[in-house]
Symmetry: C2
Subunit: 228 residues, 2 copies
DNA sequence: ACCTGAACACCGTTCAAGT
DNA sequence: ACCTGAACACCGTTCAAGT
């Protein structure tokens, strides 16, 4: 098996790496679900004693932070500056949600913990801020817009990670409106070939961007008296 | 202290109740944070051995489910049927978020776990469905609208539970746009006397309801050729 | 510097033994 | 029926001892 045939003392060459630990953690998370990221689990997979990890990693929180960086590296900010702000936001939110959806077990793990100010994360925010500021958004509104959109993305990712039958009126009597809405949606989902959480995500995203566009248009109109 | 002066054997009258356990769990959660809901922690607070809880509760998941019911009982569906659908949704979302915000440590705990189909929760969904259906929303859209709004509410609650300095460009160089957006928002927050997460929530909620109202108006217009 | 091995202080849960 | 007490199978983390 993976029993450590290694005896005590420093090995001739290092077996572990910080990067190797993080990658293994993410892989186990995907393969085995939320409890796959345990120190002992990772150690066993790497053929090593749990305590060995502490030579490369500060502890469990450090590992989770590393996994988060791996996942959020997939967030796409390339639209800002080249596309209209609302399309750039759309691409950003979509890739944000897809990054987490690609690793469902990480969502519950990562969404909950506050992200310590990582350099790469902060750089991502800087790029989004730049895009919105250049597009003409009032600077004091920028972070509020970002955070509200981000809240939706994370909430939608959580919904995606939940089991499909979570929202279900069941078989019994009662709940007539819930039930009829449920079957009507099921039919809709089948004909469109999309998941319930996927449709809710796209709907919410479109709705938010439509609302933001309306606010933006009103701001522009108020600033340019010509249109009045 | 709270050392159990009780000796073995069945007590003359029951010390525990399912309800008492749930209430204690919620209180400890509020007082001590996320790890307050541990079986051993609750048992100590109640002056009882951990194993005693298992006479009234199936286990930890059962307790968390009970806490969720306590919290989500505060969700207000009274607007449906009496207010316009968008105002009823606004009241619902606001109370939904406030219910969790009143117990910050529960957010991370509850948002992550799929809610097993509780009767009271399902009844809540039934009321919201009824309100939207009666207002004239296409029945196959109803659940999608609810879920997308709910995703935002939960995401915003998560954001609320996170530490305030989570999003912070820091002191160093670089990140100029992030930094200037940050100080501009800080000034805005101070003059309006509101928290960052509070403003993001209200902004997102307004934006979503504006977007939904636009979609609804378009649906109504498409159905009544008179306006064409 | 980087591993093993033992130990520590925790968990949730089960179950026989008591009354 | 409902509690105690002991036990079980887990955690993450620390640290001396090895090479």
């Amino acid at each position: 098996m993976t029993a450590p045939a290694r005896r005590s003392g420093r090995p001739r060459e290092s077996v572990l790496t910080r990067e190797l630990i993080m990658n293994t953690a993410l892989r186990l998370l995907d393969e085995r679900g939320e409890q796959g990221a345990g120190i002992r689990e990772i150690a066993r997979e790497l053929g090593v004693r749990p305590s060995a990890l502490y030579n490369h990693v500060r502890g469990q929180d450090d590992i989770i932070g590393g996994v988060r960086e791996l996942v959020s590296d997939r967030i796409d900010t390339s639209g800002f500056g080249v596309l209209p702000w609302n399309e750039a936001l759309h691409r950003w939110a979509l890739s944000y949600r897809n990054a987490f959806a690609a690793h469902p077990p990480t969502i519950a793990l990562l969404a909950v913990r506050p992200l310590e100010p990582g350099l790469r994360t902060n750089h991502m925010y800087d790029e989004v801020c730049e895009g919105l500021i250049e597009a003409g958004w009032p600077i004091e509104r920028v972070l509020t817009v970002i955070v509200s959109l981000e809240s939706f993305v994370l909430g939608a990712a959580l919904d995606e990670a939940a089991p499909d039958d979570m929202l279900d009126p069941g078989e019994g009597a009662g709940l007539p409106h819930f039930r009829s809405a449920y079957v009507a949606r099921a039919r809709e989902l089948e004909t469109r070939g999309i998941s319930a959480s996927g449709l809710a995500f796209h709907t919410g995203l479109d709705v938010m961007l439509a609302g933001l566009s309306a606010e933006f248009a009103a701001l522009v109109a108020a600033k340019s008296p010509l249109v009045r």
